[in-house]
């Protein structure tokens, strides 16, 4: 068997996505609390608290600056949690994938379904933050709705990357490495809280390699207004990270489960 062959994308994957959304519906209370609660805390706490001292940032109220960045970082963390803790739980302790693989579903279908589900959860989080930001009056206009397909794409990207970690993991503690070494630095450095051009020059170049930088570069002008520059570059970077993550995770999960 060739573990390295390119993944096949089939409509069968929707059975996996459907399973996840049915489970999500059962736990909708805590899910919605998570979607609204966390961004509201950030926006009110930091936006009003810090915003009082900061005033404007990059030519816009700090609350608008923050909201348009948080929508990207929340998409990242939502998809990352789903792609790691949830995917790993279904793959290892819960044996859900084993049950699925006794049917015509293959590893490729399962991970396509999971990745689309990561995008879907990021989309839910994006809708919640956009609603809160609109109520706070920091959304620039109807063009902000374009941010929704973008957060879906951000979810695909970070979901794909997180699944690589799941494929390597032998326990939950392993995920701490990825959080401390990848997710938290991106959260701090990628322009969510301040513009990246305020970083030292060397660091500015480095953060351009991070997918969250490109995610924020799209969500900020779409939500808070301003010119969206080089959208194809940003989309390309997210697709590249997500696509590579997906391919690597498919190969690793094949090696892990087809023994």
């Amino acid at each position: 068997m060739n573990f390295w062959r390119l993944p096949t994308i089939r409509a069968d994957a929707f059975a996996v996505w459907r399973r996840n959304i049915l489970v999500w519906r059962k736990l909708i209370g805590p899910a919605i609390l998570m979607n609204f609660g966390e961004p509201i805390l950030y926006l009110l706490g930091l936006g009003f608290g810090l915003g009082h001292f900061v005033g404007e940032m990059d030519g816009m109220p700090y609350l608008a600056f923050l909201a348009s960045g948080i929508i990207a970082s929340s998409a990242m963390t939502t998809a990352t949690f789903e792609g790691m803790y949830s995917v790993y739980t279904r793959m290892d302790p819960q044996h859900t994938y084993e049950a699925m693989m006794a049917t015509p579903l293959e590893v490729d279908d399962i991970l396509v379904g999971e990745m689309i589900w990561c995008g879907t959860k990021s989309l839910f989080s994006g809708i919640a933050i956009l609603a809160v930001a609109t109520l706070l009056g920091v959304v620039d206009g109807w063009q902000a709705l374009w941010v929704l397909p973008v957060v879906f794409l951000i979810g695909l990207c970070f979901g794909g990357m997180a699944m690589v970690m799941s494929a390597f993991a032998t326990n939950y503690d392993f995920f701490n490495y990825y959080f401390v070494l990848a997710i938290t630095p991106m959260f701090i450095l990628s322009g969510v809280f301040y513009p990246v051009d305020s970083l030292p020059e060397l660091a500015q170049g480095a953060v351009q390699l991070l997918p969250l930088t490109h995610a924020v570069a799209m969500t900020r002008p779409l939500v808070a207004g301003g010119e969206l520059t080089m959208p194809l570059l940003h989309i390309g970077v997210l697709l590249l990270y997500g696509g590579l993550g997906f391919y690597i995770s498919v190969v690793l999960v094949r090696k892990r489960l087809l023994v």
Partner: protein, 305 residues
């Protein structure tokens, strides 16, 4: 077509590092039969089942299921096969009926179009009253029955069962056996692994005895018993048995020792039994031989870990 075996395997090999889990096995499974793999832990039984499903690609040899090459056509094979895994892998986020519905979608089936079938399966599993229970609330026997019902959702031609009754109490085990017999009567081919002799004797038309990745022998339970062991055995137990080996051999018995027990295999037990009856305080048991004796003879009596 009817005479073509459901599964046909030639020279299957699977190694994990230097360990040869399956070491060149051949077998054919006739349609409508119950075919068993009997062997100690680590014999290669589960690996063989996974190979049949295309979930553990073989390193050498050829394998056809329903005339399709595996693993190349494994998706088509699995679409027509039911699987009962060794460990419980029901979906704990769903109720009994939701487990069946969701599993149907993995086969591309629309659950609302097969409501009748789902009801029949609930009845088959005797779980009508537990349809809305979470699976965590089910007993071990109920979970097994649900897993078997789940394996029938695609109306499979063959059901593959990996140690279907391990860990169940006798009542639960008997219900499972009767359900499996019903399936067999309906013409479903059954492929099962077990290390329970009783299970193999009750269910299997044909079985292979496996050890260390090889097939030691194949046949119906009766054939195997006749081929390998004498019709009767006398088991002597306790510390006093030591001295009787010689006497048993004098009576023409083939003697085997396991711990402090002595097993005397014989074609004619009469004279030896009469002699034993004279001795006070000696515990012995006289019984017809069965698969267990064949199994122990072929795979040895050492402990397996």
């Amino acid at each position: 077509m009817g005479l073509q075996p459901v599964v046909s395997a030639q020279g299957l090999v699977k190694t994990f590092g230097s360990h040869r889990a399956v070491d060149g096995i051949d077998f054919d499974i006739p349609r409508g039969s119950c075919f068993g793999f009997l062997g100690p832990n680590g014999a290669g039984k589960t690996t063989t089942l996974k190979m049949v499903l295309g979930l553990s690609p073989q390193m050498a040899g050829s394998l056809q299921v329903y005339g399709l090459q595996v693993p190349d056509k494994a998706r088509q094979v699995r679409a027509r096969t039911g699987v009962v895994p060794q460990a419980d892998n029901l979906d704990p986020d769903f109720t009994v009926i939701e487990n069946l519905r969701t599993y149907a979608t993995y086969f591309g089936l629309n659950p609302s179009a097969i409501e009748d079938r789902l009801e029949r399966l609930l009845e088959f599993a005797a779980l009508e009253k537990r349809r809305d229970s979470k699976t965590d609330a089910l007993s071990g026997g109920m979970k097994r029955r649900l897993i078997i019902a789940r394996a029938l959702i695609n109306e499979p031609e063959m059901v593959v069962l990996d140690e279907p009754t391990t860990g169940l109490d006798p009542q639960a085990r008997h219900i499972i056996w009767s359900r499996l017999n019903e399936l067999k009567e309906q013409g479903t081919t059954l492929l099962l692994t077990t290390h329970y002799m009783e299970e193999a004797e009750r269910l299997c038309d044909e079985l292979v005895i496996m050890d260390n990745g090889r097939i030691l022998d194949q046949g119906s339970p009766d054939t195997l018993v006749h081929r390998h062991v004498e019709p009767e055995v006398i088991e002597l137990r306790g510390e006093k048995t030591r001295g009787y080996a010689e006497s048993a051999e004098k009576h023409g018995c083939r003697v085997e020792r396991l711990g402090s027990s002595l097993y005397c295999y014989t074609n004619d037990s009469g004279a030896f039994i009469n002699e034993l009856r004279e001795i006070h305080g000696l515990t012995f048991m006289h019984r017809p031989t069965g698969l267990e004796d064949v199994f122990l003879k072929l795979t040895g009596r050492e402990l397996r870990d």
